[in-house]
């Protein structure tokens, strides 16, 4: 990811993430209003650097969470195979127990 050095880029990045997460409705959210207000408010030098760092951190949080989830769904989404299927892989079948297993509640 390219370094986000300017407040404008950070702001745009966050808004883009919000749009991805929420769809066309993103302008109605609390977070959208809050982000815009924060960007308007912080004009002075020290507060501005702090605010920029905060913005970049939040952008990183949104992007990384989304990318992590995407990779998770792509590679680890399927979960475990069902027990029957696993047994079937080696040519076995599970026994049927009409009364249910003893330890199941």
């Amino acid at each position: 990811m390219a370094a986000v050095t300017s407040p404008l880029r950070a702001c745009r990045g966050i808004l883009k993430e919000l749009r991805i997460a929420k769809g066309s409705d993103y302008r109605n959210t609390l977070v959208y209003k809050h982000v815009l207000e924060q960007f308007r408010r912080n004009q002075f030098c020290r507060a501005r650097m702090d605010a920029l760092h905060a913005a970049r951190t939040y952008l990183c949080l949104l992007t990384s969470t989304r990318m992590h989830l995407r990779l998770h769904e792509r590679y680890h989404g399927r979960g475990d195979r069902a027990l029957e299927e696993v047994a079937g892989l080696v040519g076995l079948r599970l026994p049927t127990q009409p009364g249910g297993k003893g330890w199941e509640t």
């Binding site: 990811m1 370094a3 929420k22 977070v31 905060a54 951190t57 969470t65 992590h68 792509r74 680890h76």
Partner: protein, 289 residues
């Protein structure tokens, strides 16, 4: 190094942070805890999204509402945060969920739950001394002796951070390439202890989390003091992995997966620390929405 990667991948479902450390099929006795189990579910079963709207409400502290219901912690407490910004960020996490709730993407919520419930009953003093102890095994302090490429990379990337923290806090830390690690002088520990004392319980919870993720107190300070960005801190934390990736190639479903997870958690931790240390001047604002 491979071991570390595997451990991190396994940790995905056995997260150290409460509440997702519940083992499978845990017997939950009382009725009130039935509700918390239903809400947060176990590690592998998924909970459907049961609400439409997420909003925040203020009654002194800030609360999160899912439709008409007030959000509670896994321990059954009312979920409250000290300021609006953190409330909005947590609300956004819940709002971003689609059909099923994926708690492993809700890092800020998790941190708040840990701070509110404090299930292991840790005090600030315990957290501080654990952090100081960590300095003895700090990633930045451990240098390899070979291969030369990695030695040089560590020197080029880690030395500046080490110089920064030693200057900023007027301490001596040093690094070492033997198994015993660096000898941290007492004055250094005292200086850091004083500094850490100024953190409140919530910030300290966040800081501890960041240190655990980055495996380095030095890098965590660098991030929290805004000397490093999250991305930079993560790269420095994973320096050896990055070196190996450059040599041997990238494997998306391990390397990128780990990196994004680490970035997300670290970013959440840093945000949590900053927002928790904000002065309560924010409570002057009255909610309009």
């Amino acid at each position: 190094m491979m071991l570390r990667n595997i451990c991190r991948y396994q940790r995905q479902f056995g997260q150290v942070i409460w509440p997702f450390s519940f083992p499978q099929g845990q017997h939950v006795p009382s009725l009130s805890t039935h509700l918390q189990k239903a809400k947060y579910a176990s590690g592998t079963t998924e909970r459907k999204k049961f609400y439409e709207n997420v909003s925040i409400a203020q009654g002194g502290l800030f609360e999160i509402n899912l439709d008409k219901r007030k959000l509670k912690t896994p321990g059954g407490k009312l979920f409250t945060v000290p300021n609006e910004a953190l409330a909005i960020a947590v609300a956004t996490e819940w709002d971003a969920q689609k059909d099923t709730l994926k708690f492993y993407t809700m890092h800020l919520t998790t941190l708040c739950n840990t701070a509110l419930d404090n299930p292991t009953q840790r005090t600030k003093e315990q957290m501080i001394s654990a952090a100081l102890k960590f300095l003895e095994t700090d990633t930045i302090c451990y240098r390899v002796e070979e291969p030369p490429g990695l030695v040089e990379l560590q020197r080029n990337e880690w030395d500046p951070v080490m110089n920064w923290i030693e200057q900023r806090y007027n301490v001596v830390i040093g690094s070492s390439s033997n198994i015993m690690g660096p000898q941290i002088p007492e004055e250094t520990k005292e200086t850091f202890q004083q500094h850490l004392n100024s953190y409140n319980l919530w910030s300290m919870t966040g800081l501890e989390y960041v240190i655990t993720q980055l495996k380095s107190l030095v890098l965590s300070f660098g991030l929290i003091d805004r000397h490093l960005s999250v991305e930079q801190a993560v790269v420095l934390s994973r320096l050896e992995e990055e070196y190996q990736i450059q040599r041997w190639g990238n494997v998306e479903w391990v390397h990128d997966y780990d990196m994004y997870e680490l970035q997300a958690r670290t970013a959440a931790g840093a945000m949590f620390v900053h927002l928790s240390s904000e002065s309560t001047a924010v409570k002057r604002k009255i909610l309009h929405d």
